[in-house]
């Protein structure tokens, strides 16, 4: 059993990733086929709709993570001077800024960033999730500054080079096949002096223990074989790749999830989850 565990590897306490993964896998099969929704998928879709935006539902860890990643993006942009001084401390600190969120899913991170005033584009390769995101944003008539789009970063970069003040890829990098290509495209979308924000999972023994052994084989709250440990990426590798594309890392923080209280906190240790902010030259 453990050899299988070693081969498959999967990190991580919360259920969200397994779910995200399921959705990502499902999306590859549906997005390429017809846009007409059949009833089986509708049911699946309905299930998703009820859980994705439920703060205490299956995505609860992504909701509670907002308490750290919104300040990471907001204060990061303030600290590098991207946010105009007069907007600091106001209810719309990110106004006038163009932000791209890659792998936006149902929009859990996109909507708060939009509420802070940014003009935000959320892209994802899952048609269900993009629909779900649009659906939810439409409920709030004041959210007119979000643009959701069903496309990959590879496609998006072709028409949107050097367009954005910030690119955010949160809990996405660990699901990407070619991380170099992915990061290169993200960086290309950035204006000079633009910021890239990443949160992802480290490639360590600890994240293997906490993830595959603990989460998938002991507590069983992540289906076995969900994650591919080989896709995880260590912070210094991410940093080096970004440097290759002329991005200097300003901050790397560790994140710690307490699954009993469903709350995240910043820690110095980056061996499981980490967040990174880099600025393009």
């Amino acid at each position: 059993m453990l050899t299988k565990a070693i081969r498959n590897y999967g990190p991580h306490p919360p259920k969200k990733f397994s779910h995200l993964m399921k959705i990502l896998i499902a999306s590859h099969t549906t997005s390429s086929s017809s846009t007409t929704v059949d009833h089986t998928e509708l049911k699946h879709f309905k299930d998703l709709s009820s859980s994705w935006w439920d703060e205490m539902g299956r995505m609860k860890a992504l909701h509670s993570m907002n308490k750290l990643r919104i300040p990471l993006v907001r204060d990061g942009l303030i600290n590098v001077g991207t946010v105009k001084k007069e907007f600091v401390g106001t209810t719309k600190p990110l106004q006038d800024l163009q932000i791209l969120e890659v792998g936006c899913g149902g929009g859990i991170l996109t909507e708060p960033l939009a509420k802070l005033g940014s003009k935000i584009t959320g892209i994802d390769v899952s048609s269900e999730l993009i629909e779900q995101a649009k659906q939810h944003a439409a409920q709030n008539l004041s959210l007119t500054n979000i643009n959701y789009s069903l496309e990959s970063i590879d496609d998006h970069v072709k028409r949107n080079a050097e367009k954005y003040d910030a690119v955010v890829a949160s809990e996405v990098l660990e699901h990407v096949t070619d991380q170099k290509v992915f990061l290169e495209a993200c960086v290309k979308c950035l204006k000079p002096k633009g910021s890239i924000f990443i949160t992802t999972i480290n490639k360590t023994t600890l994240s293997w223990l906490g993830g595959i052994v603990f989460a998938e084989y002991v507590l069983n709250f992540v289906p076995r074989g969900t994650h591919d440990w080989n896709k995880f990426i260590a912070p210094h590798i991410t940093q080096r790749v970004l440097e290759d594309y002329k991005c200097r890392t300003r901050i790397i923080h560790g994140l710690c999830y307490n699954f009993l209280t469903n709350s995240w906190s910043w820690i110095s240790d980056t061996s499981i989850n980490y967040a990174l902010h880099a600025v393009k030259d």
Partner: protein, 467 residues
Amino acid sequence: MSFNIMFLRKTVNVRNTLNRLPFNLNTNSILKYSINSSNHYDVVIAGGGMVGTTLACTLGKNTKFSDRRILLLESGKKFKWQLKEQYSNRVSALNPSTYNLLDRVGAWKHITDVRYGSVKRMQVWDALSDAMITFNHDELSEMVAYIVENDVLLAAVGKELEQLQNVTTINEAKIKEYQLPKKHEDTSTINMEDGTTYTCNVLLGCDGANSLVRKTMGVHYVSWNYNQKGIVATVKLSEDTENVVAWQRFLPTGPVALLPLTNKLSSLVWSTTTEHAKTLLGLSEEQFVDALNEAIWKTHQQNSMVTEAMKTFNKCLDFIQLPSSAVRQLPPSISGVEPGSRAAFPLGFGHASNYITKGVALVGDAAHRVHPLAGQGVNLGFGDVNTLDRILGEAIYSGSSLGSLNYLKQYESERQQHNVPTMLAIDGLHKLYNTEFTPVVILRSLGLQFTHALNPLKKAIIQHAAQ
């Protein structure tokens, strides 16, 4: 350009999907979420008492709420305050943290313009032994508490509130029922008796110990009555003194406290058994004053064991040069009571095990009710206001919805970490002093004396009570 086109496509897309998909999403619920609707508010505060009004004013002045809409619903008539020569019998002892809050929202200057009493020292002593404790800052340099009439406070906060554009106050609001957000909803609905309906992103229940908001939430609520009544009155001192000490004496029937108003007047809070309270209210003014002086001054027969234990303990304290109870200030004697200022109210304990559910939070007495013996009740409520103001501000600055559990949960845990120990300590004190059982009297006397002797411990208590 491409952005615009995509945007257009998005709008069309959404319309189509809305018609196509069997979501729990009908046109009504969309309208409900619309912030343009004039009956939708970001925040609805139920209850315009001291805590509710101060909460409305604090949020209204928070820059993060500058483009938000706040509604304050109060069942009473519009409060018209006029200064009367006679002091009101309903006063609050405000701790430094409450002072800071009122100062921050600009209400304190209005209180200064009217009047308040200052407490630079507190003396608490036991009727059944010589044990006593005092609380004060070094050299009486700082205030321990401020004694403010409730009406003066409400008028001061109301004056600031009136100037706020983002807060609407509705008086004589008769609330029929609340509909709290269900699983897939984000807003609460408030149905009024007159058929009006309001919706909000977060509902803040400041509607007192019998909170309808709390009952609608269905949270577990622990409560009991102390079978005691609190008698309040404004009393005259027999001599003009620099009246800056708050006095409290623990009698077997309950504590009696005098809070300074002016050099001639103090406010009385006398907790006693329900039967005794009835008797006290029935007495003539002269008889009442006699009864009160007896309560403050009468030497109760002390158990010889208690006296002996205290003597020995005081000798030990003297020996190691810690302050004993040898030196004490004498309380004032009372010469009269302001006509018509006597009143009684029931005393009870209440604790909501949860202060929040999705989109709803309880504030002040709606969440917690304590015995007045430490004068902490309203300060706990103002502490809630302070914390909620900060956390809701953070929620907005993080683009979160105001009803988000992730932020409300932080409010709940921060406040319960402060309130619950305070409440247990107050209830514990009540139980500790509500007995004449000799071993308990000895232990509490030694405990009080020991606490009095240890300055760091006393400072820690002052600091907790000041938060």
